[in-house]
Amino acid sequence: MSDKRFLLILPALIVLFFNSFFPILIVLNYSFQNPFAAVPRVVGWDNYIRVLHDSAWWAAFRRNMYFTGATLAIQIPLGLALALIIRERGKLASMVSAAIVLPSLIPFVSIGILWRLLSMTFGPIRLALGWLGIDYSLMTPTNAFWTLVVMDVWHWTSLVFLLMSAGLMTIPDVYYTAAKVDGSRKWQTFRYITMPGLKPLLILAALLRIIDSFKIYDENVILTGGGPGRTTEFLSLFLVRKILREWAGGFGAAASLIYLLQAIVMCFLLIMVLTRGRGMLGRQS
């Protein structure tokens, strides 16, 4: 009877098959033709070649890379620092961590809106930077880019913080007591006890953040809309513009698949780190 229970997975698989596998087949089919043209015809690998030679695609990719790098470089140390600071239990500490976590539950659109409000002409950011003698406006490429980075940091440091807090709890107190007895200095304790204990989770957090920031769309489209010009247009924005505005069916299909492939590779790395060779489902295989 144990074998029949296997069938319980089918409803979920059927739904997912229709929504995931089938669409991919359609994109695959589109990517070898020019589907929205007056007379659709098969064009072979042309679409892929066009995407890979498209400077706009690579520009979007590069911008996305910079964005990911910048957010990671801030989020990881910041999340770690916050987790180290807020280690105790208590009412205030618990309130602080609730406040840190809150942004990760807010709809992405609203995150975009609230940062747009903050960075408006009559918003607090311009006022505060004005006190420092800096003239801020969202309409320059550098400012737009860094506002996006700050927004993402505000939004997702919570995730790094959560993972690090969980990681800190797994390090046995005995280690710290032993280090104290041995007269270890604070940074030594950090370097030789805390860091090694957190390492797997640090890698995990970094990978999750890389995957997510390559997907960014909602906040991007609301906060800057890819502008000024196209200087902050990341991959998703580029792709959606190509598909829904310019009706570039074949090109869009090929680009979708390349984009998807990148995500799958990242996901594969993530799983490797997560399971550490124990097999996908934690079984010995």
């Binding site: 997975i9 589109y30 709809p107 809106i113 598909i243 995500a263 799983i271």
Partner: protein
């Protein structure tokens, strides 16, 4: 004495730091909420940190016409998603966590890649499919597309909770003569109740938040709150009504304020596809 003073100074420093962190994370939300009750003139002429003239105009607008319809749609789609995904993912998670079969880990990997894939990759095929089968701009079409992300997510969270239930419980129940369904109904579901509530909360959260598919696949009838927010903000050539956008944004944050207390303990499970850390 000196150490005592030092200790107290450190404590005060810590409290100040805590308050600063709370301020950093809550101020933007506060600012959005108060922008919603400001008058348009106030928003567009100066920076104020509290509304000098309070106007409930924007919030009243939310409960009329297109805004109300979008909010109701968002509610509906979130509840429907829970109703569809929770049972399906419960069954699938049961199979993944209890039964070994050929290719199980490959299947699970495929599942996770779906959740991690950029939504933009699916815009083109979904648009093509749902236009052709007549589900464009309908609740049902949207519901189906959302399973792409919701199912993998809820399966992996459910699995992480199911791990906490010992497998011996299964065997004992079956020895006692329970059927599979009877075991689910009388034993497993009651045992996993808090976990399942958290899963429902996660499904709610991700459905309530979703924008890119809703933007692609709806026009009027099935439009959701995030899409309405988007079209309010992204209006080329017109003045954007920021007060309205702020009010809508504030409304969309309210479920998060409630959910943060439900799911906080389990939050990591919503982002990491693993059984336990």
């Amino acid at each position: 004495m000196r150490t005592k003073a030092k200790k107290r100074a450190r404590k005060i420093l810590k409290i100040v730091l805590y308050l600063f962190i709370i301020f950093v994370f809550l101020f933007p939300i506060y600012f959005m909420a108060i922008t919603g009750v400001k008058t348009r003139a106030e928003i567009e002429t100066r920076t104020t940190f509290y509304p000098h003239t309070v106007s409930m105009h924007n919030f009243k607008q939310l409960f009329t016409g297109v805004w109300l319809r979008c909010i109701i749609n968002s509610f509906k789609i979130s509840l429907l998603s829970i109703a569809l995904c929770l049972p399906l993912s419960f069954l699938a998670a049961y199979v993944f966590s209890r039964i070994e079969f050929t290719g199980d880990s490959h299947l699970y990997f495929w599942l996770i890649t779906n959740r991690m894939a950029p939504a933009a990759c699916f815009v083109l095929p979904f648009f093509a499919i749902y236009n052709n089968i007549g589900l464009f701009d309908t609740m049902w079409g949207l519901l189906l597309t959302y399973t792409l992300f919701n199912l993998p997510l809820s399966i992996w969270i459910t699995m992480s909770f199911m791990e906490g239930v010992p497998k011996e419980l299964d065997e004992a129940a079956f020895l006692d003569g329970y059927s599979v369904w009877g075991y689910f109904r009388k034993v497993l579901i009651p045992v996993m109740k808090p976990g399942l509530i958290a899963v429902a909360a996660f499904i709610w959260m991700f459905t309530w938040t979703e924008m890119i598919f809703a933007y692609t696949l709806t026009a009027v009838r099935a439009k959701t709150l995030p899409v309405q927010l988007l079209v309010t903000v992204v209006r080329l050539g017109y003045g954007v009504d920021w007060g309205m956008a702020a009010a809508g944004g504030t409304i969309s944050v309210i479920p998060a304020l409630i959910l943060v207390f439900v799911v906080r303990k389990y939050l990591i499970r919503g982002f990491v596809p693993l059984r336990r850390i």
